[in-house]
């Protein structure tokens, strides 16, 4: 029996626009276990990215309990939360969000700067991560010298280079053509199958969701099926 890695209990989240409270998520109860590949689907405004952000520790629930990787992250201070994210979360963005002034190697190395690894250890890990995503020969390229698919591969390498507990992806194929999108999904499947990485992915794309083993649907801030 796999260990639970994400547990949400009665999670509620709302935003304020001036005095007006805008609820986004209602009474979310969820458990994901180690090694799962989950797709969160739903229409725009359904709260799926908000849910992903809560699990990633880049946003906080308004109410409820959120335990990720054995830690109740809703109670962590900002500093502790940042350290926790560095240790446990690998995040893949829709628009890659690479640092334009750094080349592929340096972008992937970025999260390792927060560790105590030596320069040579960092180099070894970066080369391994770029090798896994198939960009071992593009280490010196800057983001503007790479295609969208390649940029997303670099972003995935950056997400996995610290060997995080959880890989979170927000529309990882949303900005890519079909061919590149399929290739990225193959890569994520491989990371799940071969390396046992737990992946939670937000997507609109049914073909991308096919790669996941579990699909959760959200509508108007509530889970509707699983």
């Amino acid at each position: 029996m796999a260990e639970p890695i994400v547990e949400l209990q009665s999670v509620y989240k709302s935003y304020y626009r001036g005095q007006l409270e805008i609820p986004v998520l209602y009474n979310i109860n969820l458990t994901f276990t180690e090694g799962q590949f989950v797709a969160l689907m739903g229409p725009s405004g359904s709260g799926k990215t908000t849910l992903l952000n809560l699990i990633a520790g880049i946003d906080r629930p308004s109410d409820g309990r959120l335990v990720v990787a054995g830690q109740d992250i809703s109670r962590l201070s900002e500093g502790d939360m940042a350290r926790w994210r560095a240790n446990h979360i690998g995040f893949i963005f829709q628009f890659y969000n690479l640092m334009p002034v750094l080349n592929a190697f340096e972008n992937v190395e970025l999260p390792l700067l927060l560790t105590r690894l030596s320069r040579s250890e960092r180099r070894r890990q970066v080369e391994t991560a770029l090798g896994i995503v198939g960009l071992g020969d593009r280490m010196g390229h800057y983001p503007n010298q790479l295609s969208g698919g390649q940029e997303q591969r670099v972003a995935i390498a950056r997400a996995i280079v610290t060997d995080p507990t959880l890989l979170l992806a927000d529309e990882p194929t949303g900005d890519l053509d079909r061919h590149s999108a399929d290739s990225i999904m193959d890569l994520l499947s491989r990371l799940n199958n071969e390396f046992g990485k737990t992946i939670i992915m937000v997507t609109h794309d049914p073909r991308a969701a096919e790669a996941a083993r579990t699909v959760q649907h959200l509508e108007k801030g509530e889970l509707v099926s699983s």
């Binding site: 880049i58 350290r83 994210r85 560095a86 640092m99 002034v101 750094l102 999260p111």
Partner: protein, 385 residues
């Protein structure tokens, strides 16, 4: 090290904007240094004054003369070590635009009271021997290409007529702030001619220079000298050389005050230029900072990136400005040599400009940093789905 590399590359990311900002800062630094140096130049003469020297002049105005006979009476005042005299001649060399200070001095003692005017012994002997001999400062000699032995003619304004002089010495300053732009010639040369042509004006001098035994007693000695000539036809006013020189600065008090205000304004412009650049920079990079925070970087790292970039730009602008201020200061020195015999960029002015650049670099980063740190990751990424 990698963060330093990010700071460096971020700085050069918009090279045109960075270059214009650096240039703007450099111009502000140059303006600041030149203005401060000009203010210093105004005060240079008073700072060069010796504490053991007093100046005695006519109580009514500098334009009135004092009888030479006062010299012996001043010499007899308790606490007076030596007395000499100097008279503002106001001669014009060829045309008025060639203005420089020229004094008729008591050749026997004046140079003893001013050891900062360094003259070769042979040149001093020549000055003593020849009645129409003159000595000039090194800067003045360079300005007109004069050499020892050259004959020049001054046209008198206060003492009408043409006055032929022979340059018998070129003095240099013992200190950095010694005026090297003055001409001095013998008072007995003009007095001799005045006795012949305008006898009523002979035997008078402009100011007495009084050396005191103890600078601490300067005020007491001054009072004693002035008391000596109270109720006479030519009452005197005696003050320290520094106070005497400062009275000239006071005449231009409004200009100096204006310059000081402008120098502060320049610092404000300096801050606005950099503040604007840093605000634009931080606004552009909000999503990058959000990504870094997502990766686990803490607010302190973001603070380091923004402050680092701001300080780097300020340092570039400051360094360029300081480097440019020396040739530009030299140019200003040449242009204003008539008015400011001593125009030197002080070490502390440069240090102050560097410190201002540093402080402005810090201040310009405060607002963008607060904004960047306070922006939540979610807002930074603009993900509210």
């Amino acid at each position: 090290m990698r963060l330093l590399k990010i700071i460096y590359r971020n700085t050069l990311r918009h090279w045109l904007r960075t270059s214009l900002t650096v240039l703007g800062l450099a111009i502000a630094v140059v303006a600041f240094i030149v203005i401060r140096t000009t203010i210093d130049a105004w005060y240079a003469q008073s700072e060069a004054a010796s504490p053991d020297r007093l100046i005695t002049r006519h109580a009514v105005s500098l334009t009135f003369f004092l009888p030479l006979a006062y010299e012996n009476r001043i010499q007899d005042v308790e606490g007076v070590k030596a007395v000499s005299h100097a008279t503002w001649f106001g001669g014009v060399y060829v045309e008025p635009k060639n203005f420089f200070a020229n004094f008729a001095i008591d050749h026997t003692k004046y140079l003893d009271l001013y050891p900062e005017f360094v003259l070769e012994p042979a040149e001093r002997d020549a000055f003593m021997q020849e009645r129409n001999a003159a000595i000039v400062g090194r800067n003045l000699a360079d300005r007109f290409g004069w050499q020892v032995g050259d004959r020049i003619t001054l046209t008198g304004t206060i003492f009408p007529g043409d006055w032929e002089l022979v340059i018998r010495g070129i003095y240099t300053g013992a200190k950095e702030n010694t005026d090297e732009s003055t001409m001095m010639f013998r008072w007995d040369y003009i007095d001799e001619r005045l006795r012949r042509e305008v006898p009523a004006r002979a035997g008078y001098v402009g100011t007495f220079v009084v050396q005191v035994d103890d600078p601490q007693e300067a005020a007491v000695v001054s009072e004693k000298i002035d008391a000596l000539f109270q109720n006479s036809l030519a009452e005197t006013k005696t003050e320290t050389e520094e106070a005497f020189n400062l009275s000239f600065v006071a005449m231009a008090g409004s200009i100096v005050l204006g310059l000081k205000a402008i120098s502060i304004l320049v610092i404000g412009i300096f801050m606005l230029v950099l503040g604007n650049t840093m605000a634009m920079t931080a606004r552009e990079r909000v999503s990058e900072y959000a990504v870094m925070k997502t990766l686990g970087f803490r607010p302190l790292h973001i603070v380091g990136l923004i402050f680092g970039e701001s300080l780097f730009i300020a340092a570039l602008g400051g360094a360029l400005g300081i480097a440019l201020s020396f040739p530009l200061g030299g140019l200003v020195k040449t242009m204003l040599s008539n008015f400011f015999p001593v125009y030197t960029i002080a070490f502390w002015t440069v240090v102050f400009a560097g410190l201002i650049a540093f402080v402005v670099g810090l201040l310009a980063a405060v607002f963008p940093t607060v904004k960047a740190v306070r922006t939540s990751i979610v807002d930074g990424l603009r993900i509210i789905d």
